[in-house]
C-alpha cells in the first residue's frame, strides 16, 4: 500500500521546523496552538451548521417534503440565516435563576464537544493531538457534557427543565457504560488505546470485518448507546418536545440556545467519527485481500474523503433512527441499558478476549 502521497506528517513537520527557525520554542507552541485552534473552530462551525442543514433535508426527504429551499440554492444558506437570527436575538434574563450557572452551562456543553474533536484523526498525520489513551480521553470528555445539561436544567428555575436534566443525567450515566464497554471490546482487538494506532491496525481490513461476530455486536451496541448519549431520538428524553416542551433548554434563548442546538449535532458527529474510526477503519480505504487493483483504486481516494463519508453514513443512520422511531419511556430506557445492553456487552468483551487469545480473528 502506498499511502505516502496523502501523508500529512511531513507537512506538519515542515510547518513545525520552519516555525522553529523563525522564533523561540515558546512562541512556536503558542503559534501552533492558535493555528490548530482556529482550524478546528472553523471546521466545527462548518460541520455544525451543515449537519443541521443535512438533518433538515434528510427529515424532509423521509417525510415527503422538500425541506428548506428558498435561502440560496437548495436552501444551502438556511442554517447561516438561522445563526444570524439567533446571534442577534435577545438573551432573556430569568428572574430567580442561578445566574452564574445559567450562563456557564451552554459553554460547558459546547466546550466539551469541542475538546473531543482534538483527539480524532482525520487523515494520517492530521491530528490535533495523538494521545496514547485516545479512546479513554474521548469518552471522558464527551461524557462531561452531561454536567452542562444538569446545570442548565437546575439553574433555569423551571420545573420542566429540572425533569429534563434529571432524565438526561440518569440516561447518560447509564449509557456511558455501554459506550465504554463496546469500545473496550475493540481495544482488546486493536491492542492499543491510541486512536492513530487503532486506525493503522485497520490498514488490512477494518475491525468490523476482522473481529467478525463480537465486533459486529459491539458496533450495534455502540450505535444504540451513542445515540442515547447524544440525547437524540428515540432517546431524546431530555428534550422530549411532546412531554417537556423543550426539556433542559426551555429557558434559553438566542445564541445560548444555539449552543445547545449546535452541541447536539457536534456530539452526534463525534460519536459517528469514533464509530467510523474504531469500527470502520477511520481514514483507511476499503481493503480486500487478493484484489490488488481494487485496493489500489481505493487507496487513491483521499483519506479525508474516506473519513468524512464513513462518518456521514453513521450520522445518516442516527438520523434515520430519529425520524422513524417513537420515543422510549424513561423506565424502558433504563431497562434496555441495564437488563439487555450491559449483560450482552460484558459477555461480548469476554467473547472478544477469547477470540483474540485463540487468534480466531482475521
Amino acid at each position: 500500500m502506498d499511502l505516502n502521497i496523502y501523508d500529512f506528517t511531513s507537512f506538519t513537520k515542515w510547518i513545525d521546523t520552519s516555525l522553529h527557525e523563525m522564533m523561540s520554542p515558546f512562541w512556536v507552541t503558542a503559534c501552533e496552538m492558535t493555528i490548530i485552534g482556529v482550524a478546528i473552530l472553523a471546521f466545527y462551525a462548518v460541520v455544525g451548521l451543515y449537519l443541521v442543514y443535512a438533518e433538515r433535508k434528510i427529515c424532509g426527504f423521509m417525510q415527503n417534503r422538500v425541506g428548506p429551499n428558498r435561502v440560496g440554492p437548495f436552501g444551502f444558506f438556511q442554517t447561516i440565516a438561522d445563526l444570524i437570527k439567533l446571534l442577534i436575538k435577545e438573551l432573556v434574563i430569568i428572574k430567580n435563576a442561578d445566574k452564574f450557572l445559567f450562563n456557564i452551562a451552554p459553554f460547558i456543553i459546547i466546550i466539551t464537544s469541542f475538546l473531543a474533536i482534538a483527539a480524532i484523526p482525520f487523515a494520517k498525520g492530521l491530528h490535533a493531538m495523538d494521545f496514547n489513551i485516545g479512546v479513554l480521553y474521548v469518552m471522558a470528555v464527551s461524557s462531561m457534557g452531561v454536567i452542562g445539561i444538569l446545570l442548565a436544567g437546575w439553574s433555569s428555575n423551571n420545573k420542566y427543565s429540572l425533569i429534563g436534566a434529571m432524565r438526561s443525567g440518569a440516561q447518560i450515566v447509564s449509557y456511558e457504560l455501554s459506550v465504554g464497554l463496546s469500545l473496550i471490546t475493540m481495544v482488546i482487538l486493536a491492542g492499543s488505546m491510541q486512536l492513530s494506532a487503532i486506525v493503522d491496525g485497520q490498514a488490512h481490513g477494518w475491525f468490523i470485518f476482522k473481529g467478525h461476530i463480537p465486533a459486529f455486536i459491539a458496533f450495534i451496541i455502540f450505535i444504540i448507546a451513542g445515540t442515547a448519549e447524544t440525547n437524540r431520538g428515540p432517546f431524546d428524553l431530555a428534550e422530549a418536545e411532546s412531554e417537556l416542551t423543550a426539556g433542559f433548554h426551555t429557558e434559553y434563548s438566542g445564541i445560548k440556545f444555539a449552543f445547545f442546538f449546535l452541541a447536539e449535532y457536534m456530539n452526534m458527529f463525534i460519536i459517528a467519527s469514533i464509530a467510523a474510526t474504531v469500527f470502520w477503519g477511520g481514514w483507511q480505504p476499503l481493503w480486500i485481500s487478493g484484489w490488488d487493483s481494487f485496493n489500489h483504486v481505493m487507496a487513491w481516494i483521499p483519506p479525508f474523503i474516506w473519513y468524512i463519508s464513513k462518518t456521514a453514513v453513521v450520522i445518516f443512520i442516527m438520523m434515520w433512527f430519529k425520524w422513524t422511531f417513537p420515543r422510549l419511556r424513561i423506565d424502558q430506557l433504563l431497562t434496555l441499558e441495564w437488563k439487555y445492553l450491559l449483560p450482552i456487552n460484558l459477555f461480548n468483551v469476554l467473547l472478544m478476549a477469547f477470540i483474540v487469545l485463540k487468534g480466531w480473528h482475521f
Binding site: 432524565r167 412531554e243 422513524t324
Partner: protein, 371 residues
C-alpha cells in the same frame, strides 16, 4: 434528618401542563402532581376556549346554528352538522331525499377517516415519532381535496343544511372518492408498518391507561375511547340515522381498555368506514339535493334530542323550542367533555410520558370540550 427526608418524600412536585403545551392538543391545562416521574394526581382545567356557543345559539336561527356546530369539533364538522340537521328534520317531520342520505353517509364517513388520520398524526407525534405527523397529514389532504371540490371549503364547510345539502355534489365526486379509497387501502398498511408494529410503540401503549367497562359506562366515555373498553356505544348501530341501517359494517370492540386498544379501534374504524363508502358510492340515486324547506324554520314547541356518532364519540344536541324561530335552549352533549373526565381515573400511577400517550389516545379536541 429522617424527618426531613420523610417530609421531602411527602411533598409533591406540581407542574402545569398547558395551556400552551405541544401535547395537550390545544389550550387544555392539566395540573399534575408528580412524584419523580410518576403522576400522582391530574386535574384538568378547561374553559380556555369557552366561547359561549350555547348562549349564542339562543339568538340564532336553525340554519345559522350549523355554522357554530362546525366550530365545536372542527375535525368532525360534518357529523356535528348532521346532528342539528337531523334534529330539525325530525322535529318538522321532513323526509329528506334518498340522494341526500347517501351523500351525507359518504361525507360523514370521509370526515371520520380524515379525523382519524389527524388523530394518528398527533398520536404518533405525542409518542415522539414525528414522521407519523407528515404521513397522516399527507393523506388527509386527499380527503380535503374531495371536500374542497364539492363544498368549497377545506376544514369548515357548513355543507349540510336542514332539509338537505347546500348544493349538489361535484360531478367528479364519485370518481375521486373511489380513487381515494383505492389509494388509502394501499397506504393504510404503511401506517401499521410505521407505528402499529413498532416495538417501542407497543411497549408504550399496551397495558397503559386501563379503563374498565364499568368506568367507561359510568363516565360516559363514548366513541373509540369507550369501545376500546368493550362499551358498545356506537350510535350508528344503536340508533341508526342516515343509511347506517342499510349498510353492512362491524362495530369495532376491544376488551383491553388500554391505550393500544383505543389505538386499534381507530385504525380498524378507518377500514370499516372505507367499506361503508364502497357500499354506497356506486349507488347514489338521482334526485334532489334538498327537500323543500321554508326560509324561516320554526320548530314546534317541545324538546328534541338527536345524537350522532362523531369521530370522537356520541355527539348529542338537545333543543328546547318554544315555537320561535330561535331555540329557547340548546345543549351540545360533546363527547370530549365526558372523555376528559376519565383522565384522573386512569392516569394516576403512570409516568408523565404515559400521560401524554393516554391523552393522545383519547384524542381531545379542546373547543369541543369547552364549547
Amino acid at each position: 434528618m429522617t424527618d426531613l427526608i420523610q417530609e421531602i418524600e411527602q411533598q409533591e412536585y406540581i407542574i402545569n401542563m398547558g395551556p400552551q403545551h405541544p401535547s395537550t392538543h390545544g389550550v387544555l391545562r392539566l395540573v399534575l402532581s408528580l412524584k419523580g416521574e410518576i403522576v400522582k394526581n391530574v386535574e384538568p382545567h378547561c374553559g380556555y376556549i369557552h366561547r359561549g356557543i350555547e348562549k349564542m345559539c339562543e339568538k340564532l336561527t336553525y340554519q345559522q346554528i350549523i355554522h357554530l356546530t362546525d366550530r365545536l369539533d372542527y375535525l368532525s364538522a360534518h357529523i356535528n352538522n348532521a346532528a342539528v340537521c337531523l334534529l330539525v328534520e325530525k322535529a318538522l317531520g321532513i323526509e329528506v331525499p334518498e340522494r341526500v342520505k347517501y351523500i351525507r353517509t359518504i361525507i360523514d364517513e370521509l370526515t371520520r377517516i380524515a379525523s382519524h388520520q389527524l388523530w394518528w398524526c398527533s398520536f404518533g407525534m405525542d409518542l415522539g415519532g414525528l414522521t407519523c405527523f407528515f404521513y397522516g397529514l399527507r393523506d388527509r389532504e386527499h380527503i380535503l381535496d374531495i371536500f374542497e371540490e364539492t363544498t368549497g371549503g377545506r376544514l369548515i364547510q357548513s355543507y349540510y343544511t336542514p332539509g338537505g345539502l347546500m348544493k349538489d355534489i361535484h360531478p367528479n365526486f364519485q370518481k375521486r372518492v373511489k380513487d381515494f379509497i383505492k389509494y388509502f387501502r394501499k397506504i393504510l398498511p404503511e401506517y401499521d408498518q410505521l407505528l402499529t408494529g413498532n416495538v417501542i410503540m407497543q411497549a408504550r401503549s399496551k397495558g397503559i391507561g386501563k379503563l374498565s367497562l364499568e368506568d367507561a359506562i359510568s363516565f360516559g366515555a363514548t366513541g373509540p375511547s369507550g369501545r376500546g373498553s368493550g362499551f358498545a356505544c356506537d350510535v350508528r348501530k344503536l340508533h341508526p340515522y342516515h343509511l347506517y341501517d342499510k349498510v353492512n359494517f362491524k362495530e369495532i370492540l376491544y376488551q383491553e381498555g388500554d391505550t393500544f386498544a383505543r389505538y386499534k379501534v381507530r385504525m380498524d374504524e378507518m377500514w370499516e368506514s372505507m367499506s361503508i363508502i364502497e357500499q354506497l358510492i356506486d349507488n347514489i340515486p338521482e334526485g334532489d339535493f334538498t327537500a323543500k324547506m321554508k326560509p324561516i324554520i320554526k320548530l314546534p314547541e317541545g324538546e328534541y334530542y338527536q345524537r350522532v356518532e362523531a369521530a370522537r364519540g356520541e355527539f348529542g344536541v338537545y333543543i328546547l323550542s318554544k315555537g320561535d324561530k330561535y331555540p329557547y335552549r340548546v345543549k351540545f352533549r360533546s363527547p370530549n367533555f365526558s372523555n376528559l373526565s376519565i383522565l384522573n381515573t386512569i392516569v394516576p400511577g403512570q409516568k408523565i410520558a404515559d400521560l401524554v400517550a393516554i391523552g393522545g389516545s383519547l384524542d381531545y379536541v379542546i373547543p369541543d370540550i369547552d364549547r
